[in-house]
């Protein structure tokens, strides 16, 4: 287990190094940092001073080393567009995205798993058939279209829920939360549904497929033959083995949620990191793009590593395969 842990951490560190290198290359060779940071009427002397100050005259390898060290401490320099430290911008926007993703993920799990179990246990029921059709639609309709339709129905026609922004947020000093006010919670509903919908259909299909697979297994047949009641059979024996692959995929999808939040945040003008990133892409604000890339990659890598470890803990067969020396 320990060796496995070390191997995974080295792998994760390598991926981060690759990502940081891409970020550095963007930083160094995409656009001219000097003309982006100085006013248009800056003199040649100003430019030379700035170059010297930023260390752009040093050898590339020295710059690369400095970039890595700075990035590891969360320092990505100044945003070209806002003239503020990138780390401040991201820290400001992080809570909005985190809360959105958290709510959407919980929603997707809370609905997707029961619906998946239901469709697996009653594959011929009309509700199951309907859900299958809806899930196919859910995969084909682009998420931003879902969001627009939600706004059209619940904001424009019915006027029940707000269509943009976070509502009133409470500032906790290091974190701003929309969980504590009514308008904050109301503002969260539509974006969370939009973000959760795709993941929910995915989880539903996955749970259904896995459950059908497990229900065909020999140990379920034996249990049935022994007269174990159906409820116990389904929820105690079948569900456990169903959820292991679901857990893995969901862990990986959590990263997907952060990426898809870019679209949700644009539709609802949600002041999160994704909205910041898309503006940065639009204006080629390289420091923000690079910082977002590194931060999101870091989150992905951490999640992937954790999921792998959890998988190892949850499924004893994997441990047995990896440590044959112990003769398990």
């Amino acid at each position: 287990m320990f060796a496995f842990l070390i191997r995974r951490i080295i792998q994760a560190a390598l991926v981060m190094l690759v990502v940081a290198s891409i970020a550095f290359l963007m930083f160094r060779f995409l656009g001219d940092p000097i003309s982006n940071l100085l006013p248009e009427d800056a003199t040649v002397q100003d430019r030379t001073e700035m170059r010297e100050k930023m260390g752009l005259n040093d050898p590339v390898l020295v710059q690369y080393g400095r970039f890595i060290v700075d990035a590891a401490q969360g320092d990505f320099g100044q945003s070209y567009r806002n003239n503020r430290p990138v780390s401040d911008l991201l820290a400001e926007r992080f809570p909005a995205t985190a809360e959105l993703v958290l709510v959407a993920a919980s929603l997707a799990l809370a609905l997707g798993i029961p619906l998946g179990i239901y469709t697996a246990l009653n594959p011929r029921g009309w509700l199951s058939q309907g859900l299958q059709v809806i899930s196919l639609l859910g995969i084909s309709v682009p998420t931003f279209v879902t969001g627009i339709l939600l706004i059209l129905v619940f904001s424009v026609s019915l006027g029940w829920l707000p269509s943009f922004g976070r509502g009133t947020v409470v500032d906790l000093g290091w974190w701003t939360t929309g969980f504590l006010t009514v308008s904050g919670l109301k503002a969260l509903i539509l974006p969370a549904i939009m973000l959760a919908l795709f993941q929910m259909t995915l989880i539903m299909r996955l749970v259904r497929a896995e459950m059908l697979e497990v229900l065909r297994a020999d140990y379920i047949k034996f249990a049935k033959a022994r007269g174990i009641p159906n409820r116990m059979l389904h929820f105690k024996y079948a569900l456990k083995n169903t959820l292991i692959p679901v857990m893995t995929i969901f862990g990986l999808q959590l990263g997907g949620l952060i990426a898809f939040a870019i679209i949700t945040e644009t539709v609802f003008q949600w002041p999160g990191m994704g909205f910041l990133f898309i503006q940065a892409v639009n204006f080629t604000d390289v420091p923000v793009m690079a910082a977002y890339l590194v931060l999101v990659s870091f989150i992905f890598v951490v999640i992937n590593t954790l999921v792998d470890l959890l998988y190892n803990v949850a499924d004893p067969r994997l441990r047995a395969e990896r440590t044959p020396a112990r003769g398990v």
Partner: protein, 307 residues
């Protein structure tokens, strides 16, 4: 490529055509797609109006609802937008651009993926290791994020004056460069199986060169699954294009794709002219749904080969 036509013939002569005729879903989606392709190709002559020709626009006709709603005109079946452009014509032209980007990026991704997969699988060693590492890293990120990043880098590398004209190429590149991994992995896998077979051994004994073996002997035998991936990929590519355009980093409003149309319509959501956003969105959804259904069927029909 000389054996492409016989291959195509053999493909259609197989039991796949039978399976196609038996599947109602496949036939309907294929018909819908065919209709959409034809509309897209002949959009300039089919569309009732040229939405890009200012001379044809009559500002008195702006914001008209669809024909069946009160106040609508039969001249504009699906209504008009704020600048009096016919929504139906805009959709036809938009579909043209959406499909153009979709097909071009799928071809780019397929050619790149098949080539790299073939090289990696056949040569092995360091080439293979490097390629597969890149593929692993790319696969661990959501495709939309990779596409956005490539898009941002390409646009950053271009002078801002050239960005509008090169939007099409930037889009094709960013989507194509994101999606090659799947092709490469599949082709690499089947290449590694094929290259150990006896006919390759025989070809090598006869003194056939490496390139000739790859192109003439291995390539035709690993292309089957590529077709399935390409079909499913087309839906993905059209969606990605729409998403990028919707996010404002795709096609400009002067040359709108379906995604751009939805983005423009979205700005007028609160003024009650719902048809400007709903119809392009529906067109996009139907297009993607039809491609996905056809892809699903194709995958199932070719299943024994894939597994």
């Amino acid at each position: 490529m000389s054996n492409f036509m016989p291959m195509l013939y053999a493909f259609w002569d197989s039991d796949i055509t039978y399976s196609f005729r038996k599947s109602r879903v496949a036939v309907i989606s294929a018909l819908v797609l065919l209709a959409m392709f034809l509309t897209a190709i002949f959009a300039p002559s089919l569309a009732p109006q040229n939405p890009f020709d200012i001379a044809e626009l009559d500002l008195f006709d702006s914001e008209l609802p669809p024909a069946w709603v009160e106040g609508g005109s039969t001249a504009y079946l699906l209504g008009t937008d704020t600048q009096a452009r016919d929504v139906l014509s805009s959709i036809m032209h938009g579909m043209r651009i959406s499909l153009l980007v979709g097909f071009a990026s799928v071809i780019l991704a397929a050619v790149m993926g098949v080539t790299l997969g073939l090289l990696g699988g056949f040569l092995g060693g360091i080439v293979d290791a490097v390629l597969m590492r890149i593929a692993d890293v790319l696969l661990s990120f959501p495709p939309i994020l990779v596409a956005l990043l490539i898009n941002g880098i390409l646009r950053g590398a271009l002078p801002s004056s050239a960005q509008a004209e090169s939007a099409l190429i930037v889009l094709i590149l960013s989507i194509g460069l994101t999606n090659w991994v799947q092709y490469a992995r599949t082709v690499r896998g089947s290449t590694m199986v094929e290259r150990r077979k006896e006919y390759i051994e025989a070809a090598r004994t006869l003194g056939t060169g490496k390139v000739a073996i790859m192109m003439k002997h291995i390539l035709p035998n690993v292309l089957g699954p590529v077709l399935v991936i390409a079909t499913i990929n087309l839906g993905m590519a059209v969606l990605t294009e729409a998403t990028l355009s919707f996010l404002g980093v795709g096609m400009p409003p002067t040359q709108p794709s379906l995604g751009t149309l939805i983005q423009i319509g979205n700005e007028f959501l609160f003024s009650g002219i719902w048809w400007v956003v709903v119809f392009p969105a529906a067109a996009l959804a139907i297009l993607v749904l039809a491609v996905n259904l056809l892809g699903d069927w194709l995958r199932d029909a070719l299943n024994p080969k894939l597994r």
